[in-house]
Amino acid sequence: MASINFTNALGVHPSALQLRAARAEILANNLANSDTPGFKARDINFQAVLAGEVNSRNSVAMERTHSGHLSGHSQRDDELLYRNPIQPSIDGNTVDSQMEQALYGRNSMNYNASFEFLSGKFKGMKGAIRGE
């Protein structure tokens, strides 16, 4: 039987929310560099990364066997992919501003959706505690 804890109660939504925020950062960086010569637009495959996150939850953190050890970070660079440009510019820049902007907007909507789900979970738990 699955134990009762926050991880089980909240499901995939905290990871999804975090990933949406991380993706917002990547897309914002693409937009900020829309005039940088040679810049290659990047993105993550959201579904694949989220699936990996769910399967290997808490297993990517590096183990510390001594108090003096530094904590390892789990960000893997191979998750970050390069975008196939539709209209690459002559200076080697592959940012399609309009497309990035649309993706950023959509990501923001999805972030709000994930937020609603998470918020609903908390509301549900609150209700359970109060016995309503």
Partner: protein, 148 residues
């Protein structure tokens, strides 16, 4: 927290674009600044943009700290302002007060058409960064109301 990094990224983009607009303004203002020698003539200025990388410290195999660059960028940085090396305009104007002994006056290598398109491009990019900032702000504000 990733979302607060968006503020820095969009801010760096706005900063870079405002520098670009500044150089454009300077170029257009000086488009007709005549001079009597090649060395003293104003040359069109362009900002040099480069990706800013997030870097962090890591301990390598020899137990030394080393700086590692992350694949995710942290915005855009202006590496410097460079002068365009296009040839200057040399005009024969013997009546001009700045004319040299051969009667030539040198004008900057500013291309007004190029500067105008540059200005439009940078103002659009600036706007885009503002929109990114606005959206990130809304997302963050909503996050603060979690569980309410």
């Amino acid at each position: 927290m990733s979302l607060s990094n968006v503020f820095d990224i969009a801010g760096s983009g706005m900063n870079a674009q405002s520098i670009r607009i500044n150089t454009t303004a300077s170029n257009i203002a000086n488009a007709e600044s005549a001079s009597s020698s090649v060395d003293e003539t104003y040359r069109a200025r362009k900002p040099w943009f480069a990706v800013m990388h997030k870097s962090f410290m890591e301990v390598n195999a020899n137990n030394e700290f080393q700086s590692i660059e992350d694949g995710t960028g942290a915005g855009v940085q202006v590496m410097g302002i460079v002068e365009k090396d296009a040839p200057l305009q040399q005009r024969f104007q013997p009546d001009h007060p700045m004319a040299n002994e051969d009667g030539y006056v040198y004008y900057p290598n500013v291309n007004i058409v190029e500067e105008m398109t540059d200005m439009m491009s940078s103002s659009r990019s600036y706007q885009m960064n503002v929109e990114v900032l606005k959206t990130a702000k809304q997302m963050l504000q909503r996050t603060l109301s979690l569980g309410q």
